[in-house]
């Protein structure tokens, strides 16, 4: 893996400089991102909001190394993603990145325990028993460990997914609308879990959402519109977040 060269701030876990992303060509070209620079310091919980088509998902995909920017540079933990090979990106995902999805994305053939340990088995690493115990108690699914996804509620599945994202102690967890498919109770549970992970485990979390209530759990709120950051500020209440959204929407 490339070594970090000239990282501007060692405290900044994810750093993006002047990102742009263009889909299509010529007349039909769409700029999903038009010059975004942003840094995410460690141990903080950031929420990215924006209306549909604002580029918030694209930003997250690029930050996580799932998509490549048309121009600009992304660093994760000091590593420049620009020229990483597929193999290096794979390694990066194993070591430094955790994902939480809107649709949980658990493997239906595996039970909860196996799903949580999946990233470690893929990477060929031994699980840390204490960490695993702590995690399952934190997310509260000890009594569901041998259940398959089909036997669990949405909230339970998403809590398993949170544990899966944290099991490898990644540098950063990206959450893509983690509460999007949940009722308000389960939604609160999951968001509190993320909050807890940041506060108690020092985890860095970047969450994309269009739910103002979800955004109120974060320390910091970014709002995107038309591929640009139009707001970048500290934690807000859900009402304030809603107003912000209305102003750009």
């Amino acid at each position: 893996m490339n070594t970090a060269t000239g990282a501007p701030d060692p405290q900044t876990i994810v750093q993006a400089a002047d990102l742009s992303r263009r889909y299509g060509e010529g007349e039909a070209a769409v700029d999903a991102l038009a010059g975004v620079s942003v840094g995410f310091p460690g141990g903080r919980f950031a929420a990215i909001m924006g209306p549909s088509g604002s580029g918030k998902s694209t930003l997250m995909h690029i930050l996580a190394g799932l998509d490549r920017p048309t121009s600009g540079v992304v660093r994760v933990g000091g590593v420049d993603l620009t020229d990483l090979s597929d193999q290096d990106l794979t390694q990066l995902r194993r070591d430094r990145i955790g994902f939480i999805f809107q649709t949980f994305n658990l493997l239906p053939v595996l039970d909860a325990r196996e799903n949580i340990l999946l990233p470690l088995s893929i990477a060929g690493k031994k699980p840390d028993g204490e960490w695993f115990d702590l995690l399952i108690d934190t997310v509260g699914i000890r009594d569901r460990l041998s259940h398959r996804p089909a036997e669990m509620s949405g909230g339970q599945q998403q809590r398993v997914a949170v544990a899966r994202a944290l099991i490898s102690r990644p540098t950063v967890v990206f959450a893509d609308e983690p509460s999007g498919n949940l009722d308000s109770k389960a939604s609160n549970d999951v968001l509190e879990l993320l909050r807890h992970a940041v506060d108690d485990f020092g985890q860095t979390v970047v969450m994309v959402t269009h739910d103002a209530h979800a955004a109120s759990f974060a320390d910091r709120l970014l709002v995107l519109a038309d591929g640009r950051i139009v707001h970048d500020g500290d934690a807000v209440t859900s009402e304030q977040a809603l107003d912000l959204m209305k102003s750009v929407g």
Binding site: S57, H61, A64, L66, D67, D86, Q87, T90, Q91, R93, R94, D95, I97, F99, F101, T103, N105, L107, V109, L110, E114, L118, P119, S121, I122, A123, R164, S168, D176
Partner: protein
Amino acid sequence: MLPLVLRGFMQRKVRVVLTAIAIALGVALMAGTYILTDTINKSFASIFSVANRGNDVVISPTQNLGRETRSQTSPITDQMLAKVRATPGVSEAAGSIFTPGTFLDVHGKRLTNGGAPAFVASESPKRFESFKPVQGHLPLGPDEVAIDEQTAKRHTLKLGQQMIVAGSAPAKRYTIVGITRFGGGESFGGAGAAILTPTEAQRVVGLPGHFDQIEVAAESNPAHPVSANELRGRIRAALPATVDVRTGAQQAAKDTSDLESNLGFLRTFLLVFAYVALVVGAFIIFNTFSITVAQRTREFGLLRTLGASRRQIMQSVVYEGLLLGVVGAVLGLLGGLVLAPALNELFKAFGAELPHNGTVVETRTIVVSLLVGTVVTLLAGLPPALRATRVPPLAAMREGVEIPPRVLSARGLIVRLAIVLVIAVLLAALIGGSVAVSVVFAALWVGRLSARYRRGARPRRYRVVPALARGIGALVSWRGITGQLARENSIRQPGRTIITAAALTVGLALVAFVAVLADGTKATINQAVSRSFAGNLIVENSQSGNNEQGIPAVVAPALRRVPGVAGVAPIAFTEGRLKGSSSNVRITAIEPSTFGQVYRVEWKKGSNATLLGLGKDGTILTKSYADSKHLKVGQTISVLTPTDKHIALTVRGIASDNARLLGDLTITLPLAREAFGQRDDALNFVAYSQGASNAQVQPAVNRLLAASFPQTRSRTAAQFKQDQASQINTLLALIYVLLALSVIVSLFGIVNTLILSIYERTRELGMLRAIGTSRRQIRQMIRYESVITALIGGVFGLVIGVVGALLVTTLALSDSGYVQSIPVGTLAILLVVAALAGLLAAQLPARRAARLDMLQALASE
């Protein structure tokens, strides 16, 4: 990755089993073939070891033209036997006869043991005799016979009853005085054996003073011990080169290995069909994996975001292929154990019965079956596995992410083209090989007059390029929305439909190919017989396809005395080898004075006068043979005969013969008797006197044959054509049965594809149900879809088969007078069968689709 794969495997049992069956059937045929042929070989090995148990040394005629040709006049004589007896160290020596013959009951009905041959054998001294009487005794006088227990049981023959034995001499009645067993069995490996006294046996088979073999026992005096090998050396030194001298063990080994290579064609023949089924199975594996990889795009994307490398994704698919291959191969191997006896029954039903005691499963059978099944599955799953590696991690986030097409470098393109080419060539070789083998097999079965297409078809390449699926789909149109939807569904993923259909195409193309070839062969025979045969009757051995045995030479003179018969032309077949050549030439022997009257020779050089002037040093070549050896009229060739003589023959004429009655060489019958040792005729052509009607003459001929030569029968040209056609039909039926396996494999492919695509369309089906589509309509839609797929496969199969057959016959057989003919009726039936097969394949998937719970269907993502 492996535990994950195993987990998924166990949860998709239905799919795993359906897919595994696709490969298992091919493996089963392969394993069954090995098991059956090994069992047959082993059975014969034990038979031969029993037969040679009491023999220290065995003397048999040299087979200088290869094992196929047995010398018809044995060089083993009474004088030779006396010489052997005089050799120091010999305690006992006896000559014996063991030659094909015909057994009949007193009413003239053949006493057959299924399709196994029947032999006339001579009684031997006790220590050499392998047949032991279980009732009565061995024959003591010239009117006595002992019969094997199997024949006796099958035809309820009892001691004291009479039976008829016919060989080269006119048929004669014998009294049954003994019933024998061979070794531990009821018979000589299923073959019938009538044991006569040595002198009587010699008379019946037309070898007075001669034997087929001499058996020798060594002196057991402990004062002068002599080993079998030492004795063999002494006897070898005393005898001429026209005989082989072997120890008993050597003889048993030789007999066994001869038999194994004789039966080798059976193994090859069956293996070809196994390979075809495996190729079809590979199509299905490939298709199933392609579909499941497409369906699991999201899962692969997820695994990638969780840190799985491309390699791991590929491994997970490859492991799945490996597991599936092992499951399929093991199922196949077990299936082979069931199939081996079934294959034996199949051959029995088609009139070829071979001994098989127990079940011989060699290590080779297990290793090859498991290896081939696994490797084929693995290879077929490899392209989809590679495709799975191209799933981007982003697929975990979004619905409907397509797998990006691979950008090929020039090198990659070349590599890929090379792989496709290699596969195409392998496929073509397979198909061509199977065709060539079936033609060879046809020739072996349809062994007579016109059917001697021994080196008929050359393998031809043709590529299956099914590009017009849309067109065909549009052609097949139904009224109503279900039909329309079905049509749209089947062309929604044309690649998938085509590969599913292609599996069926392979089987049907071969069926059509063979059907066209067979129809043409029948037409060719009909035309050739009509054109060339100028006589009224053909007299032949009534055992169909048995031209080794022929008819006694004394039949022709007897026929000449029948009122209304103007002339009889005896014809015999033999073989020889040209000096400096390693392959045998087919030789036809004719009687110059009569042949011209009953056969229209198509002369290239010469005329019917050439026949009369042929003489014992002349020969007529077929045009194709003369062309291939660059021989001209007037040139002299040296030919080695089955009796070890080198004779010089001058080319007197060159003729074409589409009926293939004339061999590479045609010689006179007296020369064949004298120098080639051919004492029997193969056919007698009979011409009636002017004004004589068939209604009068044929019954008279039949009366003579029934009385004196019950192993023969007379056929008019029309009857003869009928016989040939029915023999071809028999062979055709056998090939159809074996190809049916491939068609069944492809049906599993249709079932698989339908189930997978229904699973994929769960939501859509739920929607259709929600807006008022009935279960019945859903079932109908799936059935239509299946029928469309089957018909696409069927139409392509028929077109490829027919075009392929026409191409092959045009290129390879046109100069041999092959008449092309297309069996339209058969092809139409095949298409209907394909449609019905599609309907059958749709049953399970249609029911599944109709059973889907509407709400659940709508809720599924």
